[in-house]
Amino acid sequence: MIIIRHAWLNLKRNRYSHLKIGGFVLLILLVIFSMLQVYRIANAYFLDYREQAATVVKGVQDLNQTGQAAKLQQTDYEKLKNLSYVKRSQLTGQGIISSTLVQPKEGKSSVTAYSSLSTEHLKENYLSLTMLDNDSLKTLLTAKKEKLQGKLPLKKNTCVISRGLAEANNLKVNETILLGAKGQEQAVEIAGIAEFSTVEWLSSPNTILINWDTETVLQRNIMQPFLNVMFQLTSKKEIKKFVKDFKKMDSFKEYSLISQNWSQELFQSSQDTLDLLLNGLVAALILGIVLIAIVYQHSLKQRQDFYTLHLMGMDRKTLALSSSLESLLLILGVGLSGILISTQLSKWIIGEWLIKFQKNLMEQEPFVDWLLPHVEQVESRATALLLVGICLTILLLLVNLRIARIVHDPLQEVSKR
């Protein structure tokens, strides 16, 4: 009880200097804890996303010697899609089609992606055409529902066109357009008009979106069709099995599989930022601990009460224990406040960053089922508590050394004054 009483009296007596020291330590701990939590959370997020990205396999069509792609059997794609370990899939086709429609004047040309077109072709009206399976069409267009006017092009002979193309040709929903070369035109109904925000993924902002049923009708008129597939598996372990199953399919014999590389650029820039943060964290940690030790040592030298209490008859044990308890209470208060405040602070700091990263992922790969990572805070709190423990150890060491010095050599203290 006497120890607690003296510790409390010490705290009360030195409240102003403790306030200053506590504020300084809190500031340093806030910086370190916030950096630590930002690093931990961001690292866990990116690791989780990297794991998710590792379950995605893409198949890209190899062109044959004549530059034409082999015909894809829809049934082969369906078989792969229905495999138990396939979580999501996407079949995309891109091509160009002749049309009487006028290209929007502003914006990129619809045929920029087809640099192999002859100048003769360019003089005619060619439009970019994107074929998607129904599920992917739903994902692409319903995720941005506010930007779609009308319905999804799920029925045969329907399409969705861009707002730019609709305005350039004065077209409205439910009207019919003619696609295909002269004499072979096919009438296609405009089911909806959309403003595409995922232009990074689409070949052109003015592309016409159709499903594979409509593609069978327009097949003869589609020039330079180019297909690719994407499969998201339930686990990374299933990749080997999937590769075997994929290669078995006749339709995919001319396809090359790519895994992970597609996301490397995005993850690499985040990894670079994380590495930078880690270096900063290590530097802040070392500097912080040194600064705390220097400032606390200085404040201990300014304190006269250890010597005064010793003169009054307080023994070394009581002095050391009560002062240690005082330091413990101080650092616990500051440390816990630091952990609580930095948790909120780091959430605020990291929020913007992760939202931006997630948006980039969604825009780049809208058909992958990105799950929001669940990050446990326990681990970073344990590390923060470890840091509080290190600070406490340093403080206890300094305070006990100071007391030992006073008790061991009291005349030094007398001659100082």
């Binding site: 005064t308 009054m312 008859g313 307080m314 023994d315 009291p410 005349l411 007398v414 004054r417």
Partner: protein, 223 residues
């Protein structure tokens, strides 16, 4: 008998071969006051530190009531038997009353707030000054608190004051030393103070000198 006896006491610092105190002898009785006169660095503070039990003799012995200080719990001895003031006023960063409370608490006595207040008022502090922090008091008032601390400790048989000319410079050396001497006579306590001047000589029953590590009895005076 309760007295402090120095027998062939030597003291030298750890890494020094020069003796600060060299085979000194003396006997100090309760109810009397002693002035130890000496030049700077003559070992006056070291001698007081020996009496306070802060340090121990390198050779010889210092006994209190027949017991060698090296053989007793010196912290408890200092807390109970000694009231000391080394050079500048040493007070805790608290109110005057809290300072006195702590002094009494560590002496093991029962704290009587009324008595402590009386002591503080008797040295010249005002009622409203008793509970305000020391940093809001003047240097003179802080010196009065230090004086009150010496007077408040009933259990202390020995009062040690290092350089009263400096410790009570603002509040008045005569006033402080007069009160201390009167208090010691009334309560049969021993007062030992060290000086470099003769300013406080009238408050000492015995004059001693410290020079070259030797403690010499100069004279006894009747006041």
């Amino acid at each position: 008998m309760t007295e402090w006896v120095l027998t062939q006491v030597d003291y030298h610092y750890k890494l020094s071969e020069i003796k600060t105190l060299d085979a000194i002898q003396g006997s100090f009785q309760p109810g009397k006051s002693y002035q130890i006169y000496g030049a700077p660095d003559s070992g006056k503070t070291t001698l007081l530190a020996l009496f306070a039990g802060l340090i121990t003799c390198s050779n010889g012995s210092l006994t209190f009531a027949g017991r060698d200080l090296t053989s007793i719990d010196r912290n408890s001895y200092r807390g109970h038997e000694i009231a000391c003031l080394f050079q500048e006023s040493r007070l805790l960063k608290d109110s005057p009353i809290a300072n006195l409370e702590m002094e009494i608490l560590l002496s093991g006595e029962k704290i009587k707030l009324d008595k402590l207040k009386k002591v503080l008022l008797s040295v010249g502090l005002a009622e409203r000054q008793l509970t305000i922090p020391l940093n809001k008091l003047t240097e003179k008032e802080r010196q009065l608190v230090a004086l009150a601390k010496l007077l408040a400790k009933q259990s202390a048989g020995l009062i040690l004051v290092d350089e009263p000319e400096s410790a009570f410079k603002e509040c008045g050396v005569s006033l402080a030393m007069g009160k201390l001497r009167k208090h010691c006579l009334q309560h049969n306590k021993c007062l030992i103070f060290t000086t470099q001047t003769t300013q406080s000589v009238k408050f000492a029953d015995e004059l001693w000198g410290l020079n070259g590590g030797k403690l010499l009895f100069i004279k006894e005076q009747s006041l």
